[in-house]
């Protein structure tokens, strides 16, 4: 017998619950370190007459929180070495995270064994950057496309599988007669279509695309991007789209997360981000896009270069290159804070209203 207002009061964090209801994938405080020091014996060093164990790590991801909502295309952008591909691979379970959790449709998937992960693999598929490397050169296209179907549908007969392969080849615009050919007989754009067909073959609901168009020519990029958008519309797909090309993000993404040195510095809807970038790094990144317009590039010049992820800077990872950094930035790590328009920014300067 409770009024809606009372129900709200009884449930102190309705927004939180709502969020988890419509988000397909949740990443919480994800960290990934890669050891640089080899095995145990290689880690031993003599130091001051003592044998000490010395370990060094590449800190690829340092505490990433992301929510991917059903039906959206979340783009992760950043420069090389910012950890965007590591996020993609960790989500797919191709590498195990060092810390943190990943939930898919509410279930934790980061600690599952390969066998336990199998049902999820059918629901989430990956498209890789380089279609020259992601297709097995010794398999025909038919075999390549059949393989995931045999694996995920052990009860299907040959007829089912062949019909499905035929369908999926048509849906990505490759001639089903090409099935007998091998990957090397195709151009880059056609290979990427085949890689997309392979991902779509098992009817996934979630696709991780790691720089899927970066290796392609401009006119082909448009074709593949259109294909990905059509697939999203027809199949109601959710994308995690990794890219460094901001022009593509502006066109393709529902929301954008900008990463720098293993941390997310800003998440916003695409329109908001491009209209009003908040984080100094996002501002510099957006100003660096070469545009067709007349005026000379007025880009924000960043001093220095991306620091090594082996020895992370203290405080904000961006402080060494940031024109707005102060003492607090050098000491305290900023956390993502929600702004009025829903943008989440990790920056002390924005928080203090200095920017």
């Amino acid at each position: 017998m409770s009024s809606p207002a009372e129900a709200m009061a009884a449930n102190p964090t309705p927004t939180q619950n709502e969020k988890s209801a419509d988000s397909l994938l949740q990443i919480r405080d994800l960290k990934k370190r890669f050891s640089l020091s080899g095995d145990f014996l290689e880690q031993l060093r003599f130091k001051g007459g003592k044998l000490v164990r010395h370990q060094e790590y590449v800190h690829a991801i340092n505490g990433v929180d992301l929510d991917i909502k059903r039906g959206e295309a979340l783009c992760v952008v950043g420069e090389s070495g910012c950890g965007k591909s590591t996020v993609a691979r960790t989500v797919m379970g191709l590498i195990k995270p060092s810390e943190g959790e990943i939930r898919y449709a509410g279930e934790r998937i980061d600690n599952l064994s390969a066998r336990q992960l199998l049902p999820y693999r059918k629901r989430m598929q990956m498209i890789f950057q380089n279609p020259y490397a992601s297709l097995n050169p010794r398999m025909t296209i038919q075999q390549t496309l059949e393989e995931p179907l045999w694996l995920h549908h052990p009860d299907w007969n040959r007829q089912n599988v062949e019909a499905k392969v035929y369908d999926v080849m048509q849906s990505v615009g490759i001639d089903p007669d090409w099935g007998k050919r091998f990957g090397h007989e195709f151009s880059g754009g056609q290979r990427q279509r085949i890689a997309i067909a392979r991902a779509l073959a098992v009817d996934p609901e979630f696709i991780v695309a790691d720089e899927p168009i970066s290796a392609l020519d401009v006119s082909i990029q448009a074709q593949v991007l259109n294909l990905l958008m059509d697939a999203q519309r027809e199949r109601n797909l959710t994308y995690l789209f990794i890219t460094h090309d901001l022009a593509v993000v502006e066109h393709f993404g529902t929301r954008v997360a900008v990463m720098y040195l293993g941390t997310v510095c800003e998440i916003a809807t695409t329109a908001t981000m491009f209209a009003k970038p908040r984080h100094p790094y996002t501002q510099a990144l957006l100003s660096a896009i070469p545009r067709l317009e007349d005026d000379r590039p007025q880009h924000i010049r960043l001093s220095g270069e991306v620091p090594t992820p082996v020895n992370l800077p203290s405080g904000c990872v961006f402080h060494g290159r940031c024109p707005h950094a102060n003492a607090r930035c050098r000491e305290e790590i900023p956390h993502l804070q929600t702004q009025d328009d829903g943008t989440r920014v990790a920056c002390h300067a924005v928080e203090e209203g200095r920017l």
């Binding site: 420069e79 082909i220 448009a222």
Partner: protein
């Protein structure tokens, strides 16, 4: 007379399957201090064009015809000895991959001084001073220590700066830059491009910029060539081509950019892909992908499939397209009758 004049350049590759014509009928000039962009997709022949300017085409490729004239000297018939005086000295080159261009076993200083000493009689001390000056010009911090470091100790952006410093070392008249920023990140790319532009203006150096990135060309160059399947299909002032492309391929290329479409809408794609040079379609090489092979009255324009289009002048631009030629002809006839 222009500083660099390329006429009817024809480059072929003698392969087992027969001769492949990688480049034909390429004509352009470059004035002192001018910046020219060469745009095209992979396989269009833009890198072959750049390499052939300095006669750097390796076997089985060869320059089969045409001429490259630099200050009145013909580079393509010059002896190897004579060419060496031009390469790196008067015309220098920046390549795409900064890791491949620098010698990993020589320090930055050794590579720079080697280049200086190859062209000038100069003492080690004086050479080092010039190197330091050039490194400062490309804004490398603490150039003194950098000079004694090896390429692997520098980041990609720093290496590309060093390469620009080497390209500028002998105060050349022309720099040929083949995709100089493709291997770099966006923010670094913007910095390197701005630096290159600034230095070219400062020293009045001509720049031939090879790239697939229309954004970069539009911001850096004054004139541009668009290449397709070994031919130039459109050339003229960069602004005019970017704002009002005439050739269907150039139009398609510009319209296919995500920034030209409404976010979320379909991109304007060009169907199909570039043909292989060993198996070019008849007539205009672009016709199988072209949307304008029919005349205004719906009849197919036979010339497109049968005849290789020649250049027509359209304003300040030159376009190789039957459709554009027809349009111009119609306009001319109309003007004459009225």
């Amino acid at each position: 007379m222009a500083l660099l004049e390329v006429t009817n350049l024809d480059v072929r590759f003698g392969l087992r399957q027969g001769e492949v014509r990688a480049l034909r009928d390429v004509n352009f000039t470059l004035e002192r201090g001018e910046r020219l962009g060469i745009v095209g997709e992979s396989g269009a022949g833009k890198s072959v064009a750049a390499f052939s300017l300095l006669n750097l085409i390796a076997r089985p490729g060869f320059i089969a015809g045409g001429s490259i004239s630099f200050e009145g000297q013909t580079l393509n018939t010059m002896s190897e000895r004579g060419l060496r005086k031009v390469r790196g000295n008067r015309i220098s080159m920046i390549f795409q991959d900064p890791m491949m261009t620098l010698n990993p076993v020589l320090s930055i200083g050794e590579q720079m001084i080697e280049c200086l000493k190859a062209h000038r009689r100069i003492s080690g001390k004086a050479a080092r001073a010039i190197c330091l000056d050039k490194l400062r010009q490309v804004q490398i911090p603490s150039p003194d220590t950098r000079l004694d470091q090896y390429p692997h100790e520098l980041s990609g952006g720093m290496r590309q700066r060093v390469i620009i410093a080497i390209a500028l070392l002998l105060d050349p008249d022309i720099i040929i830059a083949d995709e100089p920023t493709t291997a770099l990140d966006v923010t670094i790319q913007a910095e390197i491009m701005a630096l290159l532009l600034e230095l070219c203006e400062q020293h009045n150096v001509g720049l031939i910029l090879i790239t697939h990135d229309l954004g970069v060309v539009s911001q850096v160059t004054q004139r541009m060539l668009v290449m397709y399947a070994g031919r130039v299909i459109e050339q003229g002032p960069t602004r005019e081509i970017i704002n009002d492309p005439q050739h269907p391929y150039t139009q398609g290329l510009i319209n296919a950019l995500p920034q030209m479409a409404t976010p979320g809408e379909k991109l304007n794609q060009i169907r199909g892909s570039m043909p292989s040079l060993s198996n070019l379609p008849s007539g205009c090489a672009f016709h199988p992908r072209c949307d304008f092979i029919n005349r205004a009255d719906g009849q197919p324009r036979l010339a497109c499939t049968q005849q290789v289009p020649g250049f027509v002048e359209s304003g300040n631009c030159r376009v190789a397209c039957h459709m554009v030629a027809e349009m111009l002809e119609d306009r001319r006839v109309k003007e004459e009758t009225s």
